[in-house]
Symmetry: C2
Subunit: 376 residues, 2 copies
């Protein structure tokens, strides 16, 4: 995997770049739709490609490991063939899910023992087998196994947890370097910065992660409940240390405003369930502000879902119709809302890249962030 | 609306024809996907048109009246504009739903008073206002308000109910003839044969319905739990009486085998929730038989969902992937299964028409019906 910076903004730390994978070139900054279990909920693969125009999507190791299981994905020759997706895939390591979703989890230096939230079966994740599992899943970008600390978090816990994540990093890195991709295309492996909201720990963790010298680096453990300003402060601390010439992936973030602020702080890659999850509940992100389509005010609004949008969901259906679908619990509602929101996020990244290239990013960001937060 | 018989089968009563509406020509025999609340569950309108290749879909007066309501649909200039569907639409009258779904229903000569199953609000349907509502919804084919008798049903109840349906027919017909379409395209109105499984009543009802001299005629109250043979017997009795040169619509039927048997008895139009509802639960209809995709046997079957199918769902995804989606409760599962099943039903009707035209219908029907019932 190669990463090349194309343009660096003058006024901010924002930059554009391109990440080359064997499943396509990914322009950065980029937002990656979340396809937890091998599907971006409610969105057909062809629409992800042609309407959302997403070059990369996310999968989740924890979910895919439990269901359908590595044998099934391996039998299909990896996640791309299994789900019929020609673009790139990044798999999260499952660290976050083990600590947020799994039952009866027991954490030790060796790894994490947990019970499946689906059927209660007992499993073990180690830094090594999480590499092996991701080799079988076959994502283009794989992630180190980490502990994602909750917020708030005592300093001692955050420090010990970070040290565990660092020890796991060394073991995972070793396994990654000792093993090869299984399907003839290359894979990369990103370590993850932790350290909660303690600047000292974050700095220390970023130094450890930078030292690993991998193809890209991730920032984890943010957007877990802490105030936004603390998140931005941590990003600044970390990005001071992480190498400029490697892609930086801020995990699980966030709102359009969060993303733009983080881009201005030098982040290149994002993922979040917000466009799909909130979309399913009727929240639409638009250039003019946020729409709660369930509101009575949209009941007889026959204007297009997003007159400025360029997916078919935006142009071909009215707000009144989408409201009816969402209020009635009709499947097509989540389908259209997810498609719209994902396209909006990808459009926002396209605009972001354009504005950075044209040297207008900082001014544009302040202008659009104000709009994006309006409740229509 | 014009109906023209194109070809009549020699060995059976099957025939091909074409139903001309202001929203397109509908070749018959035809299956109409059910879009109860203004959406065929899980299927995008573009896919209905281009993949399923459906010239007509169903809507339901009861559901659309309650939600989004006639004001909203009227404000959009009718159901076609509201849901962005250029093809034809048929709306059921709501009779069936009032008697199967609504709460605290009270039936009198005047009509039916009921409470909404959604919010308990009180409403009245009469033969007249059901015409008015369907004028506002704006379907190409509208239906008379009837009482759909359950099965089994005492003779006296069936007779009284039929007489009520007949009285309602006269009143609905009068209102239909006194009123005009609202949106510049024509609408037709079909009366409905009732009479439970009593041949005498069915004959009497068919005579009454035939006398009305409308553009088409429907057979209701079947496929409500009675043995298949009784259903076929009733269809034979009714079709002896209903005019040959008008389309015959068998409401709510059915399995692929039910449809083929009914075509051979002279039925032209069908609708059923089976392809979508059963699809959402993982039942797939194919040329080789019925698949329960949840079965363990499909877990690692990487063959196409339906190698002989011609929708993108059939060719681009594997059985293993669809199984994973359905088992995991992922929205894309119902989306793909519904698309496949609907396309299968429409394909079956295309083949049916072709076989009738080529004089091979009877032999082909017996051959394919055997296959279609196999559990794979």
């Amino acid at each position: 995997m190669k990463f090349k910076i194309l343009h660096s903004d003058n006024g901010t730390k924002a930059r554009t770049g391109v990440l080359e994978t064997d499943h396509g070139r990914i322009p950065t900054p980029i937002f990656m739709p979340v396809g937890t279990a091998g599907t971006v909920k409610g969105v057909h693969q062809a629409d992800l490609k042609n309407e959302v125009r997403s070059p990369i999507i996310l999968g989740n190791t924890y979910h895919l490991f439990l269901r359908p299981g590595v044998e099934v994905i391996g039998g299909a020759g990896g996640i791309h063939g299994f789900m019929n997706w020609e673009g790139a895939v990044l798999t999260d390591s499952g660290g976050y899910q083990v600590f947020s979703l799994a039952q009866q989890r027991k954490l030790g230096p060796e790894g994490a023992v947990f019970r499946s939230h689906i059927d209660g079966t007992r499993h073990t994740f180690t830094p090594e087998n999480v590499v092996d599992i991701q080799r079988i899943i076959g994502a283009d970008v794989t992630m180190a196994f980490d502990e994602c600390t909750p917020w708030p978090c005592e300093f001692e816990y955050a420090r010990d947890s970070m040290e565990l994540t660092h020890a796991w990093l060394d073991r995972g890195r070793k396994r990654y370097l000792e093993t090869d991709p299984l399907y003839g295309y290359s894979q990369s492996w990103f370590p993850i910065v932790q350290g909660s909201t303690y600047p000292d720990l974050r700095k220390q963790s970023a130094e450890k992660i930078a030292e690993a010298g991998m193809d890209g680096n991730a920032i984890g453990g943010l957007s877990v409940g802490e105030p936004e300003e603390l998140m931005y402060e941590m990003i600044d601390v970390v990005n001071e240390v992480l190498p400029v010439d490697k892609p930086r992936y801020l995990m699980g973030v966030g709102t359009p405003a969060n993303i733009l602020e983080s881009v201005s702080r030098g982040v290149d890659m994002f993922d979040c369930v917000m466009p799909t999850r909130n979309g399913r509940n009727g929240q639409l992100f638009t250039r003019e502000g946020i729409i709660n389509i369930k509101n009575e005010k949209w009941k007889s609004d026959y204007s297009a879902i997003d007159p400025d949008g360029d997916s078919y969901a935006d142009q071909q259906y009215s707000k009144a119709y989408l409201r009816h679908l969402i209020v009635s619990g009709e499947i097509l509602g989540p389908q259209l809302a997810s498609l719209h929101n994902l396209r909006f996020y990808l459009w926002l990244m396209e605009e972001t890249r354009k504005m950075i290239e044209e040297g207008k990013f900082a001014a544009w960001k302040n202008e659009i962030m104000e709009k994006l937060s309006i409740r229509l």
